[in-house]
Symmetry: D2
Subunit: 279 residues, 4 copies
């Protein structure tokens, strides 16, 4: 099974062209979703297909070159079962890391964890218990460029495609944000209404909020404001003191981040300016 993802300016004939190329190269469409954003006139398509005859997918790939040029498409094609090479960045909190490790080792997430990078050593043991390579990259008093260099080296060496900030409490450099745009997913808590400043769980307690949530998003230079991938909330009440709110928030963070990674691994997420399209 293969996945084809593409986007381009909308105009008549795109679906026909894609479907014809698949049909002519002996491929069968198994699932397909499309979306045409009326505000930007952008067209998005995700197609799962199987090769009816051997090598049909290669035939399609070649045939599709011309189609994609004609319509000015961004596109890629992947084997569906191919796990996404994923690098996890983490600081001290391990609730997301623990959850990702579980889903990786039970194959609930179609990823290969190629390593874990941390600016602390507290999670080294957990990683090594499960045979994961751990990279200690301290950030305290270290030059930003040097940190970048070390990160880039790990990313390149491991062939990382997806970078997951699983409670990595450092701001990424502009350079890193640009270089890996659309490939870095972050998770952070969210509240209704939002709070600025420190100690958000204490603020939430003070305001008596009834829901606390989490947002997974692509990382951009605008901290915590990148295109949203997934969100969820959990119900709380006035008895939940700030420490308990934090535990509840962490549960929600782990769950939301896992779903974002799952959608990435299933090639469902399309980055579209300040937003995402999930097909």
């Amino acid at each position: 099974m293969y996945i084809l993802c593409l986007n381009c300016d909308d105009r008549p004939g795109i679906v026909a062209a894609v479907a014809n190329a698949l049909c002519d190269s002996n491929c069968n469409i198994e699932e397909s979703s499309q979306f045409d954003d009326p505000y930007s006139n952008q067209f998005f398509m995700r197609v799962m297909f199987s090769a009816v005859t051997e090598g049909a997918e290669e035939k399609f790939r070649n045939m599709f070159e011309a189609v994609s040029e004609e319509f000015g498409m961004n596109w890629y094609m992947r084997e569906m079962d191919e796990p996404v090479k994923t690098l996890v960045l983490v600081s001290k909190d391990d609730h997301c890391l623990n959850d990702i490790i579980y889903r990786w080792r039970t194959k609930h997430l179609n990823i290969e964890i190629v390593g874990v990078v941390s600016n602390h050593t507290v999670n080294q043991e957990l990683c090594e218990q499960f045979g994961l390579k751990f990279y200690y990259v301290p950030t305290q008093g270290v030059d930003k460029n040097e940190i970048d260099e070390r990160h880039f080296r790990v990313i390149e060496k491991t062939g990382t495609e997806l970078i997951v900030l699983a409670r990595y409490m450092q701001i990424l450099s502009e350079n890193m944000c640009e270089r890996y745009a659309g490939r870095v997913i972050n998770i952070h808590h969210s509240f209704l209404p939002g709070f600025k400043g420190a100690k958000p769980y204490h603020q939430a307690y003070e305001r008596g909020v009834k829901l606390i949530g989490a947002t997974a998003h692509f990382v951009t230079e605008n901290l915590d404001e990148g295109p949203i991938i997934e969100q969820d909330v959990m119900r709380i009440d006035h008895r939940d003191y700030p420490e308990k709110l934090q535990i509840r928030g962490q549960d929600t963070e782990a769950r939301v981040l896992a779903r974002a990674i799952e959608m990435y691994a299933e090639r469902r997420i399309f980055l579209h300016g300040t937003r995402t399209v999930i097909l």
Copy 2:
């Protein structure tokens, strides 16, 4: 804007054939979803498209005849803004009826209520306040066939497409179930776990269930067991006595039924044996 819905046995070339027919008749695909059920090898497709030139949709309709025959498709095509002619059947409880009337008069649901049929008169005033035609069809001591006859007459006279059982507490005849298969939506309460027999809210209280829900489904001869369209639940606790559970359940029923009608009106529901596919 138009909507095309189709299903047929899966085989290579379906999407290409549909897309080519649309493209060749000067129609532009705006949104499209497909699903291929691997267990039954059935293919389902919903396409929203616009006519780029005048009359293009008629050209497409003619051109598509040949395609649909080639693939043995069930299909229909509708103008998207055309409201669905809907007949509401109700007994005494009015929580669903009130909700449907509100969504109809505010155009939140793309339906035209062509009438309300009831085996009681308590809801006559509410209907007439909003200018709805009310048909009183008593069932107590009346011959089943005669009831059917009166229902059929209303349905035919009004050109009803969709029949909504908005807490209609009578079992429909086999004849009626067959005649309008896939066009009658019912709502009923659901519990985790399910309860058989009378007074379900008392049973739920006795078992201390924590969630009560509702299920909207197509009506078949198997009472309350037709293909499921939509479901939702609401959280309750041990303090909620049976009367309060019932109010909570009614809220959920109204909400779930409204979503099922919305999906029907948007032509998203495909009946598929014992289940539905929502595109």
Copy 3:
């Protein structure tokens, strides 16, 4: 059945004193909840009790005077079935108004709607259909004090206890906020993350948020920032254009506002500085 609500500084002996006064006056506690906020040292208590002998509640009321003075309590006592005299303020949107009317006429909410005030006339017919007194109080070009005067007159004349802003799109005066502090409930949409400025549903679409919600809160001079009573969210996706987001948001608003009114009518809400305690 009666309800006693009280709050005071926490210190040993409060519950014993309340329970003794109830016991000694022949009243039986049916349900009781308490909360002691460790951050402010405030104690909150809600007790439902029945009179075992005739007139026991009056005996208790007299006996309790001394207790409440000893502990410096804020308190009140109500008959449980006594509906809360409620005045609804509304502008043009009727989704909350329609929902409140339904719950009032089916007795799902233990309120008596003593009137509806609006700065527009579009909802007059709906109100009068259900026999509700409608007060047209225009705001365009009218002096703030004069508006206040007219509102105050309606409130006093009708014996209003609770004021519900059911999408009333005007900012209440400082004077009104102070005068009815803790008795005015407002509903507004909420997003994760929050948006400032106009057209929030368009902003939500642009940011691709996955959840939209609503918050019911007590009105204070800080617009949309009063103590939160209830919140909920609904799931949306990238296909939901701004107009649909608005319909979804309105559903959530009506549901959340109804729950806030229900909790008020059940005497569960305690105002506590910038937050609420729900017992």
Copy 4:
């Protein structure tokens, strides 16, 4: 901080008696909830209190003996921070086990895992990685009484209070159910509507259910029908094939089981015939 839990037949004076005993022994009530079930006339109470002077809790315990006798109470008192000695029983699936281990080692659950019992060895390594004692008690071809004996020995030796069936796929003996009534929590999947028989996720797929859930309950001799503690659901759609439904179901199971254990550890659960009261 201490927790007092009690239940007895309802009659006037219970709260006063409890509160007086606390007050007279120099204890301060911090949080208290009560519930009086009108159907069974049973009264339930959970009180959190602190000792104002040294040894006040012991004084209270002695003083309370007389009160509890007078009202015929079932009761117990615990130090709040004292972790609940918990034995986990598991078969092959580790999604619940992994989650419990995480919450235990991060102290998100106030439990001490005194051991893990399994009828398979696949989870031995995971347990030992985290320093947990693992007991292999095979069940294949082993006499029921012998299994019981081995279980009982572990339970007694470890001083186990709470037994958690974290996907333990064996039916407990009548003997064990009776002996540890109200101390064994099980988790199982739940559907709307419920399904009987094997392969429930395939059945759920066939019926096109839209929600799958999980129920945590006390174990009784009626398999999967004991008093419900906690429930939750997750949304699915027609594309989710049975294997994916299973993963979703497992997520829900782990989450619901964790909440049930949390409520047990916080001494919030009262067993009440076929149901529970959560205070």
